[in-house]
Symmetry: C2
């Protein structure tokens, strides 16, 4: 045993997403944040570095004064150093630089005002790193951040028990590598194991550097009992006081030691994140490769990087590009309130999916859109149709934003409606999630969960999950044009147990704007008895003040008669209590918005549900309803079928 004391740097990161349920905030403080700091306070020899994200600071300030005062006391005593970061916990690399600066400054000012000092360090959301963030953070007055040890391995750095420095455009930023082994030991393993590992760090003359989610201390499944009732935390803090260990804040250590060297690190996050971002089949290949490769391969074997979530999930991409669109306008024309709304919409959780719900949680997505639309309500609206490449795929979308409704259509993919906003409620009515394969869908195993890291918990799929394993072959957008065999049943449609007879659903439409109307048209085909028969679809979209008209004209392009079921598919983000089906219409948002069709259609519908993993296990989540307004039609040679769908606000 070495006679030198080991410097132990402990950083705790606490976060709840913007828009999470109030009950979750309450429970988090009660079961986790408050008891943690109450226990910590008793161990007067210890120091800690702490990050709360903005949503928690705002909630704590208003509702949790006990915890607030406790933190203040610990800061005043010099026992706690507070970390900055983007106020609403955005992934910095995927928001515009101006917003990065705005969010970082918002947090620094908040901490300065409430606790007396601007932060020197920043917690980097999900440790999502790109090399140019050194400049971003340094410009914001931040001197250091914490990254995962993976980042350093990729940069060829073996010793993760040291401080490093990186550089971008001449801006320097100091970096602390988070020890992954410590992350798995605390608070899940026995103190003897922790001691043995710390001894090994001490014997190499290194620093013990840990930064991790505070929710591990009481909020993750099983941890409340383990950490508090069974006394793990008290014993651990006793241990830190009694042993040859000196807990220090990150800033104290920075003043004590110069960086070990300058490093350049490629984009990365923690190891699991870089696997989650991969498509299921890729993730399988990657995991196998890692298993089969020698340890020295670790540096070179890399999964995906965060931005690829926008390739993996089109809904995450949509939210992201919509946010960028609003950001551009807020920066030019927005006031402080619009800016705050924008920043709230940038909270990272609904933009991705890993072991937590994230993107799969409708209430988080709903809230993100609510803030985006809230920001737009504070901006001058541009009238009429606008053509723009909103999602940056190199093809034009078409947008119309009125006082009541906002519309976004994608001609290049089915001439579909990819966003329908209802401004009076700041609600994106089409915010649903398509059902897609996830790598964990293939997994089936049982196990005990006591005191295990959430990453180690084996999970069992809920019974009946099989019926959810119907993956959508197209995006669950709206105004999608299906041509089905007349014998297709609602059950067939729901189960995706039918053959699409047309080539319209996700195929390119041409478009033309004339005055207030947008015309979308496609000369396509339907398959009839093994024959490809020409057929054209035209839909004209006419937004008026309180309603929107969708006028269909379908023309048989051949001399033969076409017998077919034509359906216009709409997917609405609605919980079951919000909508119902009338005799001739569909009432949405508790009757505030009504969809009518004529001639009188059949309305097929089914709930759109997904199966996703969460920290608890698996969740079956109601994403909304799928509605098919459909007509069985017979079209003689060259004949035309016309129909109309009308969406209107119904003032109650």
């Amino acid at each position: 045993m070495n006679d030198k004391r080991l410097d132990f740097l402990l950083a705790i990161h606490n976060h709840q997403p913007v828009g999470n349920f109030r009950s979750v905030f309450e429970k988090a403080f009660q079961d986790c944040y408050r008891p943690f700091f109450e226990e910590f306070r008793k161990h007067i020899g210890l120091k800690l570095t702490v990050h709360f994200s903005g949503p928690l600071w705002e909630y704590m300030q208003a509702e949790e004064r006990v915890c607030w005062n406790l933190i203040r006391e610990l800061v005043d005593k010099g026992r706690v150093e507070l970390l900055g970061g983007g106020f609403y916990e955005p992934v910095l690399s995927v928001i515009p630089e101006e917003d990065r600066q705005g969010q970082l400054e918002m947090m620094s000012r908040f901490l300065e005002k409430e606790f007396g000092t601007r932060p020197k360090g920043a917690w980097l959301t999900e440790r999502v790193w790109e090399p140019n963030l050194a400049k971003t953070l340094a410009r914001a007055g931040i001197e250091y951040t914490l990254l995962d040890e993976e980042h350093f391995h990729y940069g060829g750095i073996a010793d993760i028990h040291k401080i490093y420095i990186t550089e971008d455009e001449g801006y320097g930023l100091k970096l602390f590598p988070i020890d992954k082994k410590l992350r798995y030991l605390v608070p899940f393993q026995k103190l003897n194991d922790v001691r043995a590992y710390l001894d090994s760090i001490r014997s190499q003359g290194g620093l013990a550097i840990l930064g991790d989610d505070g929710e591990k201390f009481g909020l993750w499944p099983g941890t409340k009992k383990w950490v508090y009732e069974d006394g793990w935390l008290a014993r651990f803090l006793d241990f830190l006081e009694s042993e040859d260990i000196r807990t220090r804040t990150y800033s104290e250590v920075l003043e004590a030691y110069p960086p070990e060297g300058r490093v350049y690190l490629p984009p990365a996050s923690y190891e699991e994140m870089m696997e989650w971002v991969l498509e299921p089949q890729d993730s399988e290949i990657f995991l196998k490769l890692k298993e089969q490769s020698p340890p020295q391969a670790r540096r070179y074997l890399r999964g995906g990087f965060f931005r690829e979530f926008f390739s993996k999930y089109q809904e995450a991409n949509h939210l992201h590009k919509r946010m960028l669109f609003v950001s551009r306008r807020v920066r030019v024309k927005g006031d402080a309130e619009a800016r705050t709304e924008l920043y709230k919409s940038q909270c990272n959780d609904p933009y991705w999916h890993g072991v937590f719900g994230g993107l799969y949680l409708p209430h988080l997505r709903e809230d993100a859109y609510a803030h985006l639309l809230g920001a737009e309500r504070r901006l001058p609206r541009e009238s009429g149709w606008q053509e723009l490449d909103l999602d940056l795929d190199g093809q034009a979308e078409v947008m119309s934003q009125g006082e009541i409704f906002g519309l976004l259509l994608k001609p290049s993919s089915g001439g579909s409606l990819i966003e329908l906003d209802y401004y009076p409620l700041s609600r994106n009515l089409t915010d649903v999630l398509s059902r897609r394969k996830e790598s964990y869908h293939a997994r089936k195993a049982a196990g005990s969960n006591d005191g295990k890291s959430i990453h180690e918990i084996s999970k069992e799929l809920p019974s009946g999950a099989e019926r959810l394993f119907r993956y959508d072959w197209h995006r669950r957008a709206s105004c999608l044009d299906h041509f089905l065999h007349p014998a297709t049943t609602p059950e067939n449609f729901r189960n995706i147990d039918y053959r699409e007879q047309g080539d319209f659903v996700n195929q390119p439409y041409e478009f033309k704007i004339s005055g207030t109307s947008l015309s979308l048209f496609r000369d396509g085909h339907v398959w009839m008895d093994g024959e490809r028969v020409p057929l054209s679809v035209q839909k004209v979209v006419i937004p008026r003040d309180e309603e929107i008209l969708f006028r269909y004209t379908i023309q048989n392009g051949s001399e033969r008669t076409i017998n077919i079921r034509f359906g216009s598919e709409w997917n609405f983000y609605q919980i079951p209590e919000e909508w119902d089906l009338g005799a001739t219409d569909v009432r949405l948002v508790k009757g505030k918005v009504i969809l009518e069709a004529q001639p009188r259609p059949e309305f097929w519908n089914f709930p759109l549900q997904t199966l996703s993993q969460s920290e608890q296990g698996y969740d079956i989540i109601h994403q909304g309803i799928c509605l098919l307004s459909n007509w069985k039609i017979t079209l003689p040679g060259r004949a035309i079928f016309s129909a109309e769908i009308r969406l209107r606000e119904h003032r109650l």
Copy 2:
């Protein structure tokens, strides 16, 4: 055979570094650029996309009017599309954003003025990509660039025969993947092989996309004969005209097809570059891993990224950080001329090393420093000592810039002098290269070079190369404090065949600035007969107008007598004709700068030479001279030895 014509996109990138010998420019036009375009002109059905870097445009405009007019004619006829890029061919990711915009705009304006249109596409220097460059290029009005197929593999994209689009902060940029196989086929393989490969692309319905160095057509070893005299190029262009192929410019193709999809690509360059950046031992491991891994591992197995050259080569890092320092000042206080000097210094070649000389070529480094110092000469000089972390390693350097001399010292590493500038000649006198292990030093094989890609040429090391395999254990900086055994010979020192008795050379010194003098001191040790004896070194640096004093005070910290040889090591970038050794002094830069020491020392010296690879084979390069001003001293207990080294300008 498909009846559809294959779109063939050929882009040629021509570049010579700022500061390269005039003879190289002449030869390049004569053997390569001019004959290439003369041959191309004859094939009137063909189209081409072309990039010349700024140094070539400037040379061509002044000296090569035949070629200039030929390009103009081809542009006017719509047969050639010109590409933009950073004017002096900087690696964009490692220069400040303001300079990126300045260099891109400089090129766009140049092309607009001389050829009538601003470029739509940019050649990305060495295809060094980082995700935020999408914003950089789009802001500069650039719509597309070319990347290597590796970039796309890392992003999980298998089909490299398509156009893609990427996004950063809401800015879109279209991307063309360069086909590596085509890069190896053209102009090195038989037309039948080219034809077979193009047929395979055609059968998949893809685009054939090639972008590569123009120097492959006549300047690379053996290619002049192969490409022109043996007629490869004429046959190839005939083939492109006669076959079912349509050559198109990149912009034409962009107008014809929408992008295949949006992609997010991590930092990368071409495959070889990402190996070159690795340390020799890492490169070996990496290459073995790639060999042993299955093809689907390709996406996940990644070498280093460009910025790591600054970790690998401290001299590249020094140039880079020095450039960033000058850039900061030019942006605040510089005029247009200072800006042009800065931009010239950013030319990529001396910042890295791969198969071409780059960093190893003293004349390129000399020129980069000349432009940096040239920029500084146009800026107001700040007088006195400045403390700053110029190289961003988290520790302070100390700088003094006068009218004649500029000094940069690094207390944390031997209190060494890491830069000595002589402003009247805009010359960094200490710009040498330490000798380090390179992965190709281990290689030894012979082979024939006819018509082979430069990457396939096996090389033989020159005889006598072994004696260069002495790797330096410390940076070849100056004012380094050695303590040697009294019996050490100059030969021992030269061959690094001695034991360092002191702990000063690269160890931390403390420092203090008082008025015009800088004091550096270290309480260290010397090893005497197996015993560690305390000894302190103080050096006081006093810059005056036309001279600089270095005053040494060495004190024995023990009661015992110390017999030792003390030497102050200096490394100067001087070719043999520039310097000579007088009776009591060393005359540098043809006598313009004189180094004197007293008491009268012994001056040991040897040429500092490196062994590096180049496109021709191996080069033994004279990097400068190593000079050890040394004194055999006997220090009784507590005694002091004083010496002085004076550098002065000698006006002839």
